[in-house]
């Protein structure tokens, strides 16, 4: 039996792959032969990264004419061309809002089964299964795909990025060009503006894929500096509740929850957050949940592995300092 081709959609191949992309490649290696696809020409850095992860074929899904791959149906049509070209058995993507729409249309176009927002994926015998955590993390469900091709989005932190023992000898880049349908081009992109990083946090990991997330709510009273300090001590990202976003204290990109970003970091720390179901829906799948709140009856405590009853301005800076100190001592020990 030949191993199946596992197509991995890489979001940032034009610059360099983030941990989300490397995790997908790690999973793809456990499932079959990883094949990379992107809507953009890969950078030299990204090519070297995928080579290390055992990828010998990199496909660029291109669109004829002046059509932007940011138009969802056009992107899906380009991707369908690549699936055909590579006879992929599985397509994996990260669960950004854009990707979810693109892969849904891809699955629609090629008659594939779709599992969105899996925690991880695998084969059970010949069956592709997506493992999901639903209802704000309170239930686990296994979704079996019964079609020939399976399409899935996988949340960040599903696996620890690990290259296979054998890197690829070299990577062959191929371009598959598709002419988008009239339907795909009926939508036009008027403008597209990339946001600066949340609170100017250059160098912080992206919220959706960060291993550590420190989120602030109304309890910050608008001052996110201590939340940021703790996030930086941990090497994590800064998040927030919708209330904090609505108050204008932080960008919309920072909103965690059912209508914001879904996070599942190793450690989530909620600072001055009550724990409304809407917020929980976006973070309850986190590995460890820690919360700091002045209210001993705060509902977020009900799902916290560890909680401190206290004022943020006392607890957060102290924790950040202790973590920095610990990291420095570890650094010295290993040096």
């Amino acid at each position: 039996m030949t191993t199946p081709n596992i197509l991995v959609l890489l979001d940032t191949a034009d610059t360099q792959l983030t941990s989300a992309g490397l995790e997908l490649l790690t999973l793809a290696n456990t499932l079959g032969t990883p094949v990379a696809v992107s809507f953009h020409e890969p950078s030299a850095t990204a090519l070297e990264q995928v080579r290390t992860y055992g990828v010998s074929r990199f496909l660029v899904a291109a669109l004829d004419g002046d059509i932007s791959p940011h138009i969802t149906p056009a992107a899906a049509e380009a991707l369908a061309g690549v699936v055909k070209e590579t006879t992929a058995r599985v397509v994996l993507a990260s669960p950004t809002f854009q990707n979810k729409e693109v892969v849904a249309r891809l699955a629609h176009a090629i008659g594939a089964g779709l599992v969105i927002d899996t925690v991880t994926v695998g084969f059970e015998g010949d069956d592709f299964v997506g493992y999901k955590r639903v209802f704000a993390g309170s239930w686990d469900i296994d979704c079996k795909v019964v079609t020939d091709v399976a399409v899935a989005t996988v949340r960040a932190n599903a696996v620890i990025p690990t290259p296979p023992a054998q890197p690829a000898a070299d990577v062959q880049v191929e371009t598959v060009t598709v002419t988008p349908s009239a339907l795909a081009t009926s939508v036009s992109l008027v403008s597209r503006t990339v946001h600066p990083p949340i609170h100017g946090g250059v160098g912080r990991p992206r919220l959706a894929e960060a291993p550590y997330v420190v989120a602030g709510g109304r309890g910050t009273l608008g001052d996110f500096s201590q939340v940021e300090e703790l996030a930086d001590a941990l090497g994590g990202a800064v998040g927030a509740t919708r209330d904090a976003v609505d108050e204008g204290w932080i960008e919309h990109d920072a909103q965690i929850g059912q209508t914001g970003v879904t996070v599942a970091p190793r450690v989530y720390i909620g600072a001055g957050i009550s724990g409304a179901p809407h917020h929980r829906g976006g973070m309850q799948a986190s590995g460890v949940i820690v919360s700091v709140n002045s209210d001993p009856d705060c509902p977020l405590f009900e799902i916290s592995d560890f909680a401190v009853v206290g004022e943020l301005q006392d607890v957060l800076p102290q924790a950040a300092a202790a973590i920095r100190e610990y990291k420095a001592s570890q650094g010295e020990a290993s040096a």
Binding site: A104, W139, I269, D305, D314
Partner: protein
């Protein structure tokens, strides 16, 4: 103007939600409700048909459509309370066990049937159903109906037959535009849904609902449901509760305790 708003009856997010033995979401009348995010879509539709003033309101129609078992009717009644004019309930034993494609197929077929009695200008949906959170139904609906899709709108405008939507995605803002008819989805940031008024609450109780079976919308039983599903829930289980330690009360060393917890558990 005729606007269709597909709506969903979901378990209340404040209640305990669960799966049945067949791997379907357990939906009961007691704890069910109109998917909260559909209220934003209904609000969008109502604002459009109200824009020309009360004297023109009767010339326009906001139609809410739901696909699902008997209790799904509750979602339509709630939509009536907000001001929807017409309610369509597609229900058929064969629909049970549908995946996202089956659901989109059924909703699209109902919309096609509705367009037989006059053109549909817009289809507006919520950004996601808070029970499944797939966010993919609007895209699939647009694919099924072969209409432009303008999804996840935080701002929405409709004039001279053109729809323009601003969408806030992960780290980007996009403005997209397309001619109507189109499928639009809106987020909770697009507007603030109104509260039902007393008169509408009373009227909603007895308002007639159009009931359609699969045959009525020209579908076969194997177009939807278990038969057509490309995915099956093969296992479902509640997760064990977290191992929760009682909160530490800060007496001047709460931050140290937090750091210690992370260090001792090899989390740093």
């Amino acid at each position: 103007m005729r606007i269709v708003v597909p709506v969903k009856h979901v378990p209340d997010i404040h209640s305990d939600r669960s799966f049945t033995e067949e791997g379907r979401v357990a939906r009961g009348v007691e704890n069910g409700t109109l998917n909260e995010l559909d209220e934003n879509a209904i609000e969008c539709a109502l604002q459009l048909v109200e824009a020309a003033g009360p004297e023109h309101r009767a010339a326009h129609e906001v139609i809410v459509v739901t696909v699902g078992p008997t209790e799904a009717e509750g979602a339509l009644r709630k939509a009536f309370q907000l001001g929807a004019d017409t309610g369509v309930h597609v229900t058929d034993p064969a629909i049970g066990g549908s995946d996202v494609f089956g659901t989109a197929t059924a909703v699209a077929a109902a919309i096609r049937k509705l367009s037989e009695s006059g053109p549909i200008d817009l289809i507006i949906t919520g950004m996601a159903a808070l029970d499944g959170l797939g966010s993919v139904i609007p895209s699939l609906l647009a694919a099924e109906l072969e209409l432009p899709q303008l999804t996840l709108g935080t701002r929405f405008e409709f004039s001279d037959g053109m729809v323009e939507v601003t969408r806030e995605l992960d780290g980007v803002t996009e403005v997209i535009t397309a001619p109507a008819p189109a499928v639009v989805s809106v987020t909770d940031h697009v507007n603030t849904p109104r509260y039902p008024n007393f008169k509408l609450i009373m009227a909603a109780r007895t308002k007639e609902i159009i009931q359609w079976s699969l045959t009525d919308i020209a579908l076969n039983p194997n177009d939807v449901g278990e038969a057509a599903a490309r995915t099956h829930v093969v296992k479902s289980a509640p997760r064990p509760p977290r191992d929760i330690t009682p909160p530490v009360v800060d007496k001047g060393d709460g931050g140290l305790a937090l750091a210690r917890y992370l260090i001792d558990n090899d989390l740093i």
